[in-house]
Symmetry: C2
Subunit: 106 residues, 2 copies
DNA sequence: TTGACATGAAACCAAAAGGTGTTATATACT
DNA sequence: AGTATATAACACCTTTTGGTTTCATGTCAA
């Protein structure tokens, strides 16, 4: 049995502005594809594809409710991003920047 | 005078694993294209293209040093990512998760 | 000055991404 | 039952992306 091996990771998923807006719309509220689509100039099908990308990255969960499918935000995978970002925090940190300036001025 | 209007933003720039590895290699050290290329199975030209994407996103700075071009990390644009991420922190927060579980168990 | 080295630029290519329209299917309404 | 709704599944198109090869240019070292 091979692992699911998701095609899209968090980094790729959030790269697209449409997908980021979808996440924003889904923060707090559970919404259907049609409801979400009304906020975009693109077709419902296109929105649906973006939702699948988000789902593969684990950022969204779908739930069948009668004839419609409701999507909700799952923020947990963003923790990976936070960890990644954490590594670079030292590089914009004020104290370190000051130290760097000091070293460079020698 | 039109704005520079960079083609790549931070979100897109970090979406590619090769570019993330480049950033990692450049953290702390200033390196040339050739030096960077030795860490990848792709051609030097391809690495050079990735570096341009990073540069357009402001994540990397280039400095001519004789016949070679040295690249260094510029972490500042990652602050935008941090701000974006900050908004979603509430959604994976332990307290909120606990509340959600409580509500769902009703 | 003659090579060797470091890089950028251009032309090109295949695959993936973002879209579209159409069709099929399940669910709800009357 | 029959119709309208919500969405998934296809098939298809176009642009972008990640990669290559080739060529031109500038720099260092003998």
């Amino acid at each position: 049995m091979t692992a699911p091996l998701p095609k899209y990771d968090v980094f790729q998923a959030i790269a697209d502005p449409t997908r980021r807006k979808l996440m924003e719309l889904l923060s707090g509220e559970e919404l259907s594809v049609t409801a979400l689509s009304s906020h975009f100039p693109i077709t419902r099908t296109a929105v649906s594809k973006h939702l699948r990308v988000l789902q593969e990255a684990g950022l969204v969960r779908e739930r069948k409710a009668g004839r419609e499918t409701r999507y909700s935000l799952q923020a947990a995978p963003l923790l990976e991003l936070k960890r990644w970002l954490g590594f670079y925090e030292q590089y914009w940190d004020n104290k370190l920047a000051a130290l760097q300036r000091l070293v460079e001025s020698e």
